[in-house]
């Protein structure tokens, strides 16, 4: 009995037979239906813009049959009430509300059947203005936190589906160096992720690196097969090969301009080259990606050229110029003895290690003064060069350190000591150096809101070290020959369009905003490229806004997704790490990456 019943499962009452008819052949079919004893169900009318689509629904032997008819708007349709007298209700409906005209209806209400409301009165649901239905879609929090407004949920979805090339292209649309960013970006997007309230944000940065590395494996390199726009005949000079310069050169080149990139050093990269250590960003990856972008954009790269005078440069026939010279002047320690031998500034130190691949002998004990990311980089580099005791002095507390938490944590794992609330007083020269330092206590807050450290009564200390590395910040120093306006801290003054005080000259990156980070510099490059393009007669690049034509849904199995744990980034063991400059983080494998990408809540979904 149960099997018999089970066999009688639901038959498909979907659309069975559809026939196209015209007003002339309508009666042929309707007569057929009448002869076979079919039952009339109803008429559906749709307004398709220029004409109406009229669908007649009939039922025969428990199956639904449809007749589709398209008529122009003013044409008169013969009524079928002669055959099916009950059709008068449906025909009157269509006539009243859409204006479809019928002839010879048996009961004709003449437009008085349904009283159409004369105005749009109160309605339970939201009102609509105009014929297009409203769709609400907004930018997700992660996109809003990113300085470059990369379309993060979109590339996460592409990674989840396995479309690595699409993900790579999505990122390059707004930030042209994904392989680099996936290793070095400080990821404000992860702090903006809504899952952070439960302390499980999506590993957006590692997914970016995964996309770039997978694309490289699939493609055999990072060079893409893309086309530039047709040449505009204009020439632009970009001074400085750091992130801002590379970004501006790429976007201007893709828009069709002839770009020449002038870099002081022998290799491109700027702060990415000398400032970021090799265990975080391997230099071959960096070079490969920058070269790929420059080749795609058709940029003429001139390394080893230092620009002193802008007037001479512009006289070579450029229509515009972008300054991205970066910052190089290290802040001084302002204490006695800073000229002693063994005291070096971090720029010289890191440049020697990262650019020239030297291994300077830092001795056994090293003291690093400073609390930012550069101090962490210097300390960890010193550790890898053989120093056994590395101490970091910072004049405020641990919570107020500007370095990112991952860097500090990595430093602690590698055995680096921290001395908080200490500041240097005097450095006595000799071998080893003797540093006299002062304990501090937090005092009143200064203008940035952080508490100003005040010397503690009688708190002095001495420490011996072989090398002291000064890492308390650096500033911009623009050559005189540029003849552009600078502010009191040496930064180039620009307006909202990245224009400087000199005509046809634009600026961005660290040179204009002071020392910041890679992603902000990439943003500056793109925005300045857009501005320059408009100056040269083009349209500029598009702003970040939600794509109204793509429809995105939240996932169906949200409960399962919310129970997944955050994937941890695989790292090298701390003891092994300090023996070499090998890259610390390993990329996800495919299974982990797709699972992590599936955890995204898709905050940019449609309403």
């Amino acid at each position: 009995m149960m099997d018999q019943l089970a066999l009688r499962t639901q038959t498909e009452t979907g659309v069975e037979q559809e026939t196209q008819v015209s007003p002339e052949t309508l009666f042929l079919y309707v007569n057929q239906f009448k002869a076979q004893g079919a039952r009339f169900i109803t008429i559906t009318t749709r307004d398709m813009g220029d004409d109406f689509q009229v669908i007649y629904h009939f039922e025969k032997d428990n199956q639904v049959y449809n007749l589709y008819m398209t008529v122009e708007k003013e044409k008169v349709v013969p009524s079928i009430t002669g055959l099916y007298s009950v059709a008068f209700i449906a025909e009157n409906e269509s006539q009243d509300l859409l204006g479809l005209k019928f002839s010879d209806m048996n009961i004709d209400f003449g437009g008085k059947m349904f009283k159409v409301a004369p105005d749009v009165g109160t309605c339970l649901l939201k009102m609509v203005d105009g014929p297009r239905p409203p769709i609400m879609r907004k930018l997700s929090k992660c996109t809003e936190e990113c300085p470059a407004m990369v379309d993060i949920p979109r590339y996460i979805r592409q990674v989840e589906k396995g479309d690595v090339e699409g993900a790579y292209n999505t990122i390059i649309d707004r930030a042209p160096l994904p392989a680099i960013l996936g290793r070095v970006c400080f990821a404000p997007c992860q702090e903006g992720c809504r899952q952070e309230l439960e302390t499980k944000p999506i590993q957006i940065r590692m997914l970016k690196r995964y996309a770039a590395d997978c694309f490289k494996d699939q493609n055999g390199g990072l060079l893409r097969d893309v086309e530039r726009k047709p040449s505009t005949g204009k020439r632009v000079a970009v001074v400085g090969g750091g992130p801002a310069g590379v970004s501006a050169a790429y976007y201007l080149g893709m828009l069709g301009h002839g770009v020449t990139l002038l870099e002081k050093g022998k290799t491109l990269g700027g702060a990415m080259l000398w400032g970021i250590p090799k265990y975080r960003l391997p230099k071959d990856v960096m070079k490969e990606e920058i070269e790929a972008r420059m080749t795609e954009a058709g940029v003429e790269v001139k390394p080893g050229v230092e620009v002193e005078d802008l007037g001479d440069l512009m006289a070579e026939g450029y229509d515009a110029c972008f300054l991205a010279v970066g910052a190089e002047k290290c802040n001084s320690l302002r204490c006695e003895g800073e000229e002693s031998e063994g005291v070096i500034n971090f720029i010289d130190f890191l440049t020697a290690v990262n650019v020239r691949n030297e291994t300077p002998d830092v001795g056994r004990r090293v003291v690093v003064i400073g609390g930012g990311n550069s101090a962490m980089d210097s300390a960890r580099t010193a550790r890898r060069l053989g120093a056994e005791e590395v101490t970091v002095f910072y004049r405020r507390t641990e919570d107020e350190m500007p370095a990112s938490i991952d860097e500090v944590h990595g430093a602690v794992e590698e055995g680096i000591d921290f001395d908080f609330l200490s500041t240097q007083l005097t450095i006595h020269p000799g071998k080893p150096l003797r540093i006299e330092y002062q304990y501090m206590v937090p005092g009143e807050p200064d203008e940035s809101g952080r508490r100003r450290p005040v010397p503690m009564e009688g708190g002095h200390g001495f420490l011996e070290a072989d090398t002291v590395i000064a890492a308390i910040g650096y500033n911009v120093m623009v050559p005189q020959g540029f003849d552009v306006e600078v502010d009191r801290r040496g930064r180039i003054v620009i307006d909202d369009d990245y224009r400087t005080s000199r005509e046809c000259v634009y600026a961005g990156g660290d040179a204009a905003f002071g020392t910041s980070n890679v992603i902000s510099a990439l943003r500056d490059g793109r925005a300045a490229a857009s501005s320059i393009d408009r100056f040269l007669g083009g349209e500029g690049l598009s702003e970040a806004e939600p794509d109204m034509d793509e429809f995105v849904q939240r996932q169906a199995d949200l409960d399962e997704i919310r129970s997944r744990r955050q994937a941890k980034i695989p790292e090298m063991d701390p003891v092994e790490r300090v023996k070499s400059f090998e890259e610390i983080e390993k990329v996800f494998d495919r299974c982990t990456a797709e699972r992590e990408a599936g955890r995204c809540w898709r905050c940019d979904w449609n309403e």
């Binding site: 089970a6 009452t13 039952r39 009318t45 749709r46 007298s85 209700i89 409906e93 014929p131 449609n606």
Partner: protein, 374 residues
């Protein structure tokens, strides 16, 4: 022989839209000749709310709540039919337990609707305390609704891909107890409906709709089942009806009385169906979602308490549906009503109009034309 030419005077008088007997407004203008009805002219459109257009302008996930509010009495089946049409458009398979739950709750909705109708009808023919009795019995069903889902009338448990509330042991036992109680209460009413002569006087022989007229005029629901034709959409085996054993209830009288008896017997049938479905219900998940957008064309027909309801949905792959056409059962019952009123007297009007169970709120939600000239 004198040819006597009689001047027969005809009067036209309106019935409705407000009338104590009507649950919802409809205007019928009767052309009468001295107490006998000659012709009827209907006028609809008093409850028109522009729902079909509103469905097009809304996100398809929120439309469930909109469709439920087309009619307060048959609300569960509207929501369920809408969900079924979207499930067809997105190729979703509903799990078996969800199908059983939907069946149980549909039958509960049918119970509630028939009890409401029986009460209103009794009052329409003059039995006012019977009306109160029946509505007191209906409270059992409403309280059961509240225990299940939180609301007395709008259960709102449909989602696309299944249901979102489950029944545990305690609730299922409560269903059994309440169904028993309901059956006992209905047994006390049965003598009135089956045997009472005064009750039958108002109904037997009135509003006759012969078989071939019923088919030709396209009647649906108890209207046609009261004329002996077993047309019931539940035999299409949507949801879990394929696993339940039942036959449509028909009576051969063709008049108002047989329609009343059809509905009365359907109450018993619903009680049996609920008990059978609860016994057979398997364990398992209750919802199966996916994230595809509706695309294509789908047709769904469900059996509401008043007859066959037809949903035609067109989707285009975005979050808005392109067109939704809903044809509710009262609409095709109006031509038979116009036919069966002719030849009877004014005092029979309430009983006859009521016998098709007019639910005009369902009937009017056709496309709403924007003043902007679409």
């Amino acid at each position: 022989m004198n040819k006597q030419v009689e001047e027969v005077k005809t009067t036209v008088f309106p019935f409705g839209p407000q009338h104590p007997v009507l649950p919802e407004p409809i205007q019928l203008r009767f052309v009468v000749e001295e107490e006998e009805i000659v012709d009827v002219i209907p006028q609809l459109g008093y409850v028109h709310r522009g729902i079909e257009k509103a469905i097009e302008l809304n996100d398809y996930r929120r439309n469930i709540y909109l469709c439920e509010r087309i009619c307060g009495i048959c609300n569960y089946m509207h929501g369920m039919a809408y969900c079924e049409s979207i499930e067809k458009l997105t190729d979703t398979m509903v799990p078996l337990r969800a199908k059983y739950l939907r069946t149980v709750w549909s039958e509960l909705g049918r119970l509630q609707s028939h009890l409401l109708w029986l009460g209103l009808f009794s009052e329409g023919v003059g039995f006012e305390s019977l009306f109160m009795q029946i509505w007191r019995i209906r409270e059992i069903v409403l309280e059961l609704n509240e225990a299940t889902a939180g609301h007395r009338i709008h259960l709102s448990t449909n989602v696309i891909g299944g249901v979102n509330m489950d029944m545990d042991e305690g609730l299922v036992n409560r269903y059994y107890t309440d169904m028993d109680r309901l059956r006992k209460e209905m047994d006390t009413l049965a003598p009135v409906f089956y045997k009472d002569k005064a009750f039958q006087e108002k109904q037997v022989g009135k509003g006759v709709l012969p078989k071939k007229d019923a088919v030709h005029l396209g009647a649906v629901g108890p209207t046609i089942r009261g004329s002996g034709i077993p047309q019931d959409m539940r035999k299409n085996y949507y949801e879990a009806y394929g696993f339940l054993d039942f036959e449509p209830v028909t009576y051969d009288g063709d008049d108002v009385y047989s329609r009343t008896l059809v509905r009365f017997d359907e109450v018993y049938q619903s009680i049996d169906l609920i008990e059978a479905a609860l016994k057979q219900m398997p364990e398992g998940p209750i919802v199966d979602k996916n994230d595809r957008f509706p695309d294509g064309v789908a047709i769904v027909r469900v059996e509401q308490p008043r007859g066959e309801c037809f949903y035609y949905a067109v989707g285009n792959g975005t979050i808005h549906l392109e067109r939704m056409r809903i044809r509710t059962p009262t609409l095709p019952n109006i031509p038979p009503l116009l036919h069966m009123l002719k030849g009877y007297e004014i005092s029979d009007i309430p009983a006859i109009v009521h016998s098709i169970d007019p639910c005009m709120a369902c009937a009017e939600r056709i496309t709403y034309v924007d003043k902007g000239g679409q």
